[in-house]
Point group: C2
Chain length 158, copies 2
């Protein structure tokens, strides 16, 4: 841990405070850093914008990707005021961010009523055991699009 | 399975075809339905907009929430041309969508190079065993924001 880590975490915490004071958001803030500079910021916008995907980390990823004009944040670090939920954690994987610093823990968030343990548990289950009903509907057109794409491209591992 | 299921899945498949033909997206489409009507649509925008969170399901959720002016899609059904990745699956939980219909399977997506198995596997692991380095940085300001929020609100289970 060094001074910079603390500085960036304090910025994430400042955003979480700003979110609840001025921005009608939940108490979560996030910054993304590259080469010692903040390249993206986010705070919880769920209630403010009626967008359940507008968590601080997702907003910061979208901001950093826009600012750097890339969908891959290789070499970046993410600082978040609270341990990411599984949606944000998976987004961090897709964004290729190698390091996450977090302040408050999942248990701290749970004590506030933000409960993501159930989602983590659900994602471990086979599709037929989940609370969300998952129905396989094979579709010829969807299959043809995949076949067309497979012939045309080799998209790699994204 | 009924005619409506097929109709909505065909619309999701149509969007996946449109995405690759005209919209510079990956081969994924999604519609959200309420009371027999499409209330939200999405397709993969990742490369088109440099946004790694712009998967078809996330875009459809954001569209439906905007159209219905709510962050909770209770009573809606989601039709997607391919089984959701863990980011989208968690977003579906946050959006309170009870039923998901999918056409192509995770294995089909993997054959195209879209690999989310590793993310599902990672989310099952304790933080200290993940490929992404997870560093706990306790922060007094982040803690104070949580304490302030706890005293002020009882946000329920979202």
């Amino acid at each position: 841990m060094n001074e910079d880590n603390n500085k960036f975490m304090q910025e994430a915490a400042r955003l979480s405070a700003e979110a609840i004071q001025h921005l009608d958001g939940g108490p979560f803030g996030c910054v993304i850093v590259k080469d010692g500079k903040v390249v993206g910021k986010g705070w919880n916008h769920v209630m403010a914008t009626n967008d359940p995907t507008a968590h601080a980390e997702v907003m910061a990823i979208r901001d950093a990707c826009k600012n750097l004009a890339t969908p891959e944040l290789v070499g970046c670090e993410l600082y978040t005021s609270a341990e990411p939920c599984p949606m944000c954690m998976a987004a961090i994987y897709w964004a290729c961010i190698p390091t996450v610093y977090y302040a408050n823990t999942k248990e701290d968030s749970k004590a506030l009523g933000y409960e993501d343990t159930i989602i983590y548990d659900e994602l471990k289950k086979p599709l037929n055991e989940r609370k969300i009903k998952m129905v396989h509907v094979p579709d010829e057109a969807a299959r043809e699009v995949f076949d067309f794409w497979k012939k045309k491209n080799n998209p790699g591992s994204i």
